[in-house]
Each structure stands twice: as structure tokens, then as C-alpha cells.
């Protein structure tokens, strides 16, 4: 409720500021025209600039309040508590304060309400209201002041357009910074926890160990288990390779058919249907693997005398491949259709057949994009969790045979971090080290993709 009021007031203020700037510059321009001079920037830039000037101080006030509110009110509440309660430690004090806040905001609390609690809550709610009004008034006052100042600055020579453009540029920069900062934050937190993990386990044992047997957290720190990454990494690679062996040929051929051969009508039906495949939740693919593909493969193996387990790298990889087909086909289809028609005509006009044209002209021209799509799909295959949890058998042992169960990095992270973990022992901390490894692998793949794409660009542009 309070926030809504603030937002509405702010919008009103900004609208007013814009209108003021607009009108002021318009009248200036009208006067100047008589002397044959012109405004540097058009009125709408002046309006926007004034609005920006108003926005900055008000945002500053509101932002400061948002930052300080919690701690200021907390100090206030503690001051109002009787000494025996105020003297409580940690969680107990927190819950006492939370009770008063809940009372003040009108939500009920469990149990008896003590007198001092009631009194403190009433006092708190009064102060909260006052503070709210005060902040609103301060923000509005400052905003108006800024409006006044900004309006006085408007002149014929004021380069309002340049300033507005700069503000827009900064805004855009901030937006892209959000993504970058988030990534950095994720990496940092992974890093921190990983370092804690490596204080328990030697990095060499982790990265080059061949045995994965973390033991249980409850068995005590004496038996911290063994944390060899290799079986997991091998499982991940094997499942991803099988998945790509399924997804790449099928996806690429689908894309070629759709973009080059399919009549318009077929295309308009088939393409959306294939894209539906991409929208199926991975856990549903997991069911499919567990209930249908696994038993089928195992029966097939039995028929030809091979021992195929129904939960295995093969099952998980195949189903993951099916999941990735639309990913590859849809991206490659778009890329193939972007190859200029003139190239295709040039080849056909020389008497090349359609398949020669596709192989020798279209695919090479589309290759950078297709490689990009491929590597994106690989990244997804490596990071995919649900299908592998359900269908790969969860057996972190180094085995060559794809028909045997495996485990992957993602599955192991799930195993180690779910349940009753306290993030203190290596059993759960290893999850972060694994996450960091996964992150590094996908990062490398993406860099590789960029590199390849650039190489081909140079060759073909």
C-alpha cells in the first residue's frame, strides 16, 4: 500500500516535471524565433531532462530510507522493550522484535500478547506512519526544488538532447551490468565455498581422483570419504556425447528438410509441433526415459544378446538427445533460412542439384551459426539434471561401457546438497566445487564457440 502511493506520487511528479520543462522550452523557443534563433534541442528533450533531474534526488531519498528503515526501526523497538527482553540474545531477540512488528502491521501473533508488546506495537505503528509521511514529504520537496532548479537552467544553448542521450546510455549500461554482476556474484559465492571445501580435500585428489565415495555427513569428520571428480566427469561427458550423437544428425536433417524441402504448408505445421518438444519439462522426459526408453533398450539388448541396463548412460543420453533435437533443429532452421536466396540461386543456376547446393553452399555459409547452436546444446546437455537423475542409474563409478549406470556432476550436486546438509563438512561443500567445475566447463565451451564462429566469419564474410 505504502509503496503504491509512493510510486503513484513519483509518477505524477515526473509527469508534471516533464510538462514544465516542455512548456518552458516551448515558450523560450517561441521568443527566440522572433530573433531568428533556435533551441539546441527539441522541447521533448528539455522535458525529459527536467524529469531526470527530479527523479535523481527523489530516488536518493527513497533509496536511503529503504536501506536504513529496518535498522532504524529495530533500534527503536529495542529501546521500547523492557530490559529483561532487550537483554535477550540472537534468535530470541529477533523473534521478540518480529512479534512487535507483526502486531504493529495489524497481523495477529500466536499466543498471549503481553502489555508491553501491545504498547510498543502501537507506538511503532505511529512512528512508522509519521516516518512514511516525512520521507514522502522530503522526497517531494527535494524533487520540487530540483524541478525549479532544472527549469531555470533551460536556455536556448542547453544541450538537453546530449544529456538525455547520456542518461539513456548510462541506464542501458546499468542494465547490462546487472547480468554481469549476477554472474560475478555466482562465481564468487561458488569460489568461497569451494575454497572451504579444498581446506578439507586436496585439489589434486579432487580433480584427478578416480574414486567417488563421500560417505555420510553423520559419520563424523574422521571419515570424510573420497572425492574423485573423474567418474562424475566421465559420466557427464559420456551422457553428453550420446545426447549429441542423437540430437545433431536428427536436428540438422530436420532443419535441412524444413528450410529447403518442406512445402510451405508442411512447414507451418511441423515447425511449431517440433518446438512444442522444447517446451516439455525435463522431468517429463525423465519419466519417459524411466518408463519407456529404458525398458525398451534393455529388451532390445536382450534380443540381440547385449546386456543393457534400463537405467544407464545410454538411456539418459538418448532421451536427452531427443530433448535437444528441437533446440538444434529450430536454431539451425532459422540460420539456414537466413542464407541469402541469391546464393542458392547462384548454385542452382550453375546446374547444381539441390543436395549439392545444400552441402557445398548453404551449409558452409551457415556453419558458424550451426556450430554456435551445437555448442549451446552441448552446454545444456552438460548442465541437464532431471533426466540424468531419473534415468542414468546414479552410480558414480568409472566405467567405459555406456550400457551401465553412471552418475554425472549435476546429479551428484543434487545428491550432496539436498536433504539435511549444514554446509560445514566436505560432504555438502563438495557441491560447490562441482558447481564451479561445471561453470568452468561451460564457460570454456562458450569461449570455444565464440572463437570458432569468429574464425568462420573471417573466412566467409
Amino acid at each position: 500500500m505504502g509503496n503504491l502511493v509512493i510510486a503513484a506520487a513519483l509518477l505524477l511528479l515526473l509527469g508534471f516535471a516533464y510538462q514544465q520543462g516542455f512548456a518552458r522550452s516551448l515558450s523560450l523557443a517561441a521568443e527566440a524565433r522572433k530573433e531568428g534563433r533556435r533551441l539546441h534541442s527539441r522541447p521533448r528533450y528539455h522535458g525529459t531532462l527536467v524529469a531526470i533531474w527530479v527523479l535523481l534526488p527523489t530516488l536518493l531519498v527513497l533509496g536511503l530510507w529503504a536501506l536504513l528503515e529496518t535498522s532504524a526501526l529495530r533500534a527503536l523497538i529495542v529501546g521500547m522493550l523492557p530490559p529483561e527482553v532487550a537483554g535477550l540474545e540472537g534468535r530470541q531477540l529477533d523473534s521478540a522484535i518480529a512479534r512487535i512488528r507483526a502486531l504493529a502491521s495489524g497481523y495477529g501473533v500466536a499466543g498471549e500478547v503481553a502489555d508491553y508488546e501491545q504498547a510498543a506495537a502501537e507506538h511503532l505503528s505511529l512512528i512508522q506512519n509519521l516516518a512514511f509521511l516525512l520521507v514522502l514529504a522530503a522526497a517531494a520537496g527535494l524533487g520540487l526544488l530540483a524541478l525549479f532548479a532544472a527549469k531555470r537552467r533551460i536556455s536556448l544553448a542547453l544541450r538537453a538532447r546530449d544529456h538525455v542521450e547520456k542518461a539513456v546510455r548510462i541506464l542501458l549500461m546499468l542494465c547490462s551490468a546487472v547480468a554481469i554482476l549476477t554472474t560475478a556474484g555466482i562465481v564468487l559465492s561458488l569460489f568461497n565455498e569451494s575454497i572451504r571445501f579444498f581446506s578439507f580435500v586436496n585439489p589434486i585428489d579432487f580433480f584427478f581422483g578416480e574414486i567417488w565415495n563421500p560417505g555420510f555427513a553423520t559419520t563424523g569428520s574422521a571419515a570424510i570419504g573420497r572425492y574423485g571428480l573423474l567418474p562424475l566427469l566421465w559420466g557427464t561427458v559420456m551422457v553428453a556425447v550420446i545426447a549429441m550423437l542423437v540430437a545433431l544428425p536428427v536436428g540438422l536433417m530436420t532443419a535441412i528438410y524444413l528450410s529447403q524441402y518442406a512445402p510451405h504448408k508442411v512447414r507451418t505445421v511441423v515447425k511449431p509441433v517440433i518446438e512444442i518438444l522444447a517446451g516439455i519439462p525435463t522431468i517429463v522426459y525423465g519419466f519417459f526415459a524411466l518408463v519407456t526408453v529404458g525398458p525398451f533398450l534393455s529388451a532390445l539388448g536382450a534380443a540381440i544378446g547385449l546386456d543393457i541396463r534400463s537405467t544407464s548412460a545410454l538411456t539418459a543420453g538418448m532421451v536427452m538427445g531427443i530433448m535437444l533435437i528441437p533446440f538444434i533443429s529450430s536454431l539451425s532452421d532459422d540460420i539456414l533460412r537466413q542464407v541469402p536466396l541469391a546464393l542458392r540461386d547462384g548454385s542452382l543456376g550453375l546446374g547444381a542439384t539441390q543436395s549439392e547446393t545444400i552441402r557445398r553452399v548453404l551449409l558452409p555459409a551457415a556453419l558458424p551459426g550451426i556450430v554456435g547452436a551445437f555448442l549451446l546444446a552441448v552446454s545444456r546437455a552438460i548442465g541437464e539434471t532431471m533426466i540424468v537423475v531419473m534415468a542414468a542409474g546414479n552410480s558414480p563409478v568409472l566405467r567405459l561401457n555406456p550400457a551401465e549406470p553412471v552418475s554425472t556432476v549435476t546429479v551428484t550436486i543434487v545428491n550432496q546438497l539436498t536433504g539435511d546438509s549444514d554446509f560445514a563438512g566436505p560432504q555438502s561443500l563438495v557441491g560447490f566445487a562441482l558447481g564451479l567445475t561445471l561453470f568452468a566447463i561451460t564457460l570454456l565451451l562458450n569461449i570455444l564457440a565464440l572463437f570458432i564462429v569468429r574464425r568462420f566469419r573471417e573466412q566467409y564474410d
Binding site: 529447403q260 524441402y261 512445402p263 510451405h264 541469402p340 536466396l341 541469391a342 546464393l343 542458392r344 540461386d345 547462384g346 548454385s347 542452382l348 543456376g349 550453375l350 546446374g351 547444381a352 542439384t353 539441390q354 549439392e356 557445398r360 553452399v361 558452409p364 555459409a365 573466412q459 566467409y460 564474410d461
Partner: protein
Amino acid sequence: MTSLFRSSLQGVAAPPTALEAGDGYQTVRTPDPKAKPTRLSAHDVCVFYGDKQALENVSIDIPERSVSALIGPSGCGKSTFLRCLNRMNDTIEGARVTGEITLDGENLYSPQVDVVELRARIGMVFQKPNPFPKSIFENVAYGPKIHGLARSKSELEEIVVTSLKRAGLFEEVKDRLHAPGTGLSGGQQQRLCIARAIAVGPEVILMDEPCSALDPIATSIIEELIDELRENYTIIIVTHSMQQAARVSQKTAFFHLGKLIEEGPTERIFTNPRDKKTQDYITGRIG
């Protein structure tokens, strides 16, 4: 993309309505007593892009081993007609061709005809240069390779070099045959595409404004090439330059708004056009 197979069927089923669709316009024809025997012949050709008609009942005979020029204002259907002659309109979704076009008496649009082979015999240089994103060498070698014209690497090299020389490009690119063809200038790309087309050794060559991006010197090289090719090949050229049409062609056809207005010996068309529209166009009053 329309499948080649499907559109070849459309071509056969030329509905007789095509004759009536012309609502009685008459092409002005001046027969040429000195003309060589007919190689390509179009009869009542109509082209539709979807519902829109781009060509109306075009009938013309193209003599062998000579140059025929198609002229007319922009958008009148010259490229469209040219593309009918090697069935490149098949590749345009929604394009429909009716009527009959024969090469040596055989209907190009009959189902027995193999489009791929046909296009190897009737080569085309497109209006916009469209080099492949490959090296200059590979661009020219492309056709000979897929048709197996060279038995060895040195033979292939010879074909490439001769073709580049004939298109007047070799001197400029001889040190960078393995640089990308797309890195050439517009005019160089145009000559590269000409070299690419003649490397296949087609019997008929269709050229859509081959000199539109060329300077006078490169233009005269191409005109010389056309003149030389005429000894053995049948050539049809689209051009916006009256002088060029007059210089290189023996026969000229004037198109206007999808209709073939007048055709006849080049000299005759330029000195003594019989239709008013033709006269206006060549004296610069329309287009």
C-alpha cells in the same frame, strides 16, 4: 522452396486460358531475313507471382549463335522472362509459368526434362552479383567440379584461369586466387560471376545486366567477351544501356509492363521502331 518436381508438373499443365488472358495485344514483329536458325523459342509465356501477373503472352524466337538483347523500363519483366528460360522461376515460391518454351524443339517444361541438366546447358549470370562465400578459385571451380569437367587438378586450374581471363578479371586477382570472392568489389564480383557461369561451358548464356556495376573499360572487356562467345554460343542479355544493346546484339526485344511490345533486328529497332512505345523508350521518353 517449391520442389523442382512439383513445379515441373505445373509447367506441363499449361491451361489454354493463357491464350485468352492476353486480351488481344499484338507484338510488333519484324522478321530478320539474315537470322540464324531458331534455338530457343517461347510461345505464349505468362508468368504469375501469386495472383499478380508479371508477363503476358510473350512469344519470341531466339536465333542460335547470336546475341539477343532484352530492353525495357524497370519492372517490366525482363528478368522474369530470362529466368523462365532456365527455369529459375521454379525456385520462387508461388511463381507459376504457363505457355511453352522450347530448346531445339523440346519443351523445357515437359516432365521428362531434367532441370539440373537443363541449367548446366543454359547458364545464367544474375542481376545482383552473388559470389559464394568461398575463395575466388573455388567460386569458379564450383561448376566444373560438380559436373566433373576436369579430370585432374591441373585441368581444373586451367579451366579456372581461362574463365577468369575471359571475364577480364584474372590480372586483378591472380595473386589472391585463394582470397574470399566476397571480398572483391561489386564490379569484380560481377565479373567473377560471369567467369563462374562460363566455366561450366553452357550452350546458352543468359546475362541479366552483366555490366550494371562496371566501368567503361571492364564493360568493353565484357562486350568483347560476349562478341567472342557469340561464335559458338547463344546469348541473351538484359541491359538498360541502349548503346550496349545496339553494340552487341543482333536481335532486340522491347518489353513494357509485362508485354513484349516489339521485337526485331537490332538495327531496325533502333533506327526505325514501328511501335510508339518503343520509340518513346529508346529516345528516352519513358522508363
